[in-house]
Symmetry: C2
Subunit: 188 residues, 2 copies
């Protein structure tokens, strides 16, 4: 029997697995002392997201159809990083693959648990500056559209609710606050 | 065969279900035309979150141990709302149950897809003001600690990375920006 804070875990069984997630069924004793169940979605990879910024105040977003929500979605460049690889290296790889951009300067701005009542998914988000431009190399199964736009325009899209991806929303709001309070500026 | 944007769905099988989530295995043709699989986590409920604000600039957060991440977490009041119930009613119920607070004024400030590469989970977040105070009625299996604090202090916790729940991070950053640009003020 494993103790997790005020919860006790009696038994764990894996019920579903793909290369990206595994889902396990937990028989538990909840904090009130009552027996219960908990379905936990484990993410094999870290989620990494990048806000690239050039010295003119532009950023880049990626458009793609997201299968689980059945909607087209505009987002900061994001992807999965292996847990044994430093997250910044995964972010550098994703940015290069999706947009063709390499960046000299990387600053971690945010870590979040995306859905902590059901999963252990964790996101780490960076600002990247000192940009140079190369050919994108997207994964074969991705159909991505890349768009360059002023960061201020992306901020407007988020504030109006036109962008709804949680990583993008939180990252853009935090960058705006960092730009406002002087902790961040557009630079080469 | 169902078409979802550039994806084709050949077959869907439910592989796991609880009262809160169901997990289905999809045989697909991906946007490149190659066969593949997709594991999709469906959330039966909407996630609702609330930032209560009083006229002195205080807010309330909830502390609890989150089983999937094996960590204690301070968050805005949040919970699940049935999809056939208006989200604002679910938010009103959650705020009352978790904190004992009722609010005269409700403003939707944010909608997000929390993890759109793997799930259809959607969050709707409100600011609540015009507060009155009653006894909390938490779910039997919840062990919650309620804390009243200045919103400015919660904003500091988010900016320093001491709060990592995605709903809380995004909500607090957006409220701060709304307070800054005049779209929101502390009121009775």
């Amino acid at each position: 029997m494993e103790e997790r804070g005020p919860w006790k875990t009696l038994k764990v069984e894996e019920r579903y697995a793909t290369p990206w997630i595994s889902v396990s069924h937990h028989d538990v004793i909840d904090p009130s002392g009552a027996p219960g169940i908990y379905g936990v979605v484990h993410f094999r990879n870290l989620a990494v997201g990048i806000v690239p910024l050039d010295e003119a105040g532009n950023t880049w977003i990626v458009g793609q159809y997201r299968y689980p929500i059945k909607e087209y979605s505009w987002e900061i460049p994001e992807g999965g990083g292996k847990r044994h690889v430093p997250a910044v290296e995964s972010a550098q790889r994703e940015l290069r693959e999706e947009t063709g951009i390499e960046a000299a300067n990387w600053t971690e701005i945010l870590r979040m648990h995306l859905s902590n009542s059901a999963s252990d998914e964790e996101a780490i988000i960076y600002v990247a500056s000192g940009l140079s431009f190369h050919a994108p190399e997207p994964d074969q199964n991705e159909e991505l559209v890349i768009r360059k736009l002023p960061f201020a325009e992306l901020y407007g899209m988020v504030m109006r609710g036109e962008v709804r991806d949680s990583l993008t929303v939180a990252a853009v709001l935090k960058v705006q606050l960092m730009l406002t309070d002087g902790g961040l500026s557009f630079q080469k």
